[in-house]
Amino acid sequence: MSSQAVRQGLISFLPNLRAFAIALCGDADRADDLVQDTMLKAWNSLDTFEEGTNLRAWLFTILRNTYFSECRRRRREVPDNDGEYVAQLCVPPSQHGRVDAQDLLKALARLTDDQREALILVGAEGFAYEEAATICDCAVGTIKSRVNRARNRLADILGVEAAQDFGPEPTTEAVLLRASGTKAY
């Protein structure tokens, strides 16, 4: 893979890497530093990247390893558990539910690190279990377990017991209406 192709790859994955970093650490400035470190490490380690393999997964692996290495160094530092950053995120007008994006991202910050990264990688970023397991350097079954526990924990933290506790989401609402025999227009 040419350096120009890698450069294009880095640029195209920047938004997702940054979102992953923010979701991991809950702080935009720290996330930007993480992404910057990831870019530099990736670029300086191009010879370790196997052409034909998954560049996106490789970059996410570097980012999460960088994050956890940093966490070990900064053990005393408390992440944004209060969700100061995510509290600044605006909520689109289509969401009127009792649980909104801010609640959800704050709740995400209260998961354990391994549950949070597994849930984000599979549930939000769309990696397959196998890819997430490779990124997190653990067994596929471990990832499945972490995702399931994270989802249950998230529901506990949010205090939701039924789908109705969330605001209407058009697609799902239409599916539910169809399933109940009511036409959605």
Binding site: S3, R7, L10, I11, L14, P15, N16, R18, A19, I22, A23, D32, V35, Q36, M39, L40, W43, N44, L46, D47, R56, L89, P92, Q95, V99, A101, L104, L105, L108, L119, I120, V122, G123, A124, E125, G126, F127, A128, Y129, K144, V147, N148, R151, L154, A155, L158, V160, E161, A162, A163, D165, F166, E169, T171, T172, V175, L176, R178, A179, G181
Partner: protein, 84 residues
């Protein structure tokens, strides 16, 4: 199409992966009664809603503009060959 589920692709992962992860059928077919969960049963849609909300919140992060200094950093990375 496998198992009667739509082959929806979301960021490289199939909806089947998501369903398996959350033990839910996110898109039950109205014509298949077996996919319709009766009222009162533990709500499988809840998991679907949680992941839907998570994706929505996460997508908002992805949609945030990337700071210029990060874009500039990548644009100005010198070719590895040039380093040596």
């Amino acid at each position: 199409m496998q198992s009667g589920k739509p082959s929806v692709q979301l960021l490289g992962s199939s909806m089947t992966d998501v369903n398996e992860a959350f033990d839910v059928d996110l898109a039950p077919q109205a014509t298949n009664d077996a996919n319709i969960k009766p009222l009162g049963e533990p709500v499988p849609e809840l998991a679907g809603h949680i992941i839907g909300q998570l994706r929505s919140a996460y997508d908002r992060l992805v949609d945030e503009p990337v700071p210029d200094h990060l874009l500039a950093l990548v644009a100005n990375l010198s070719d590895p060959e040039a380093k040596s």
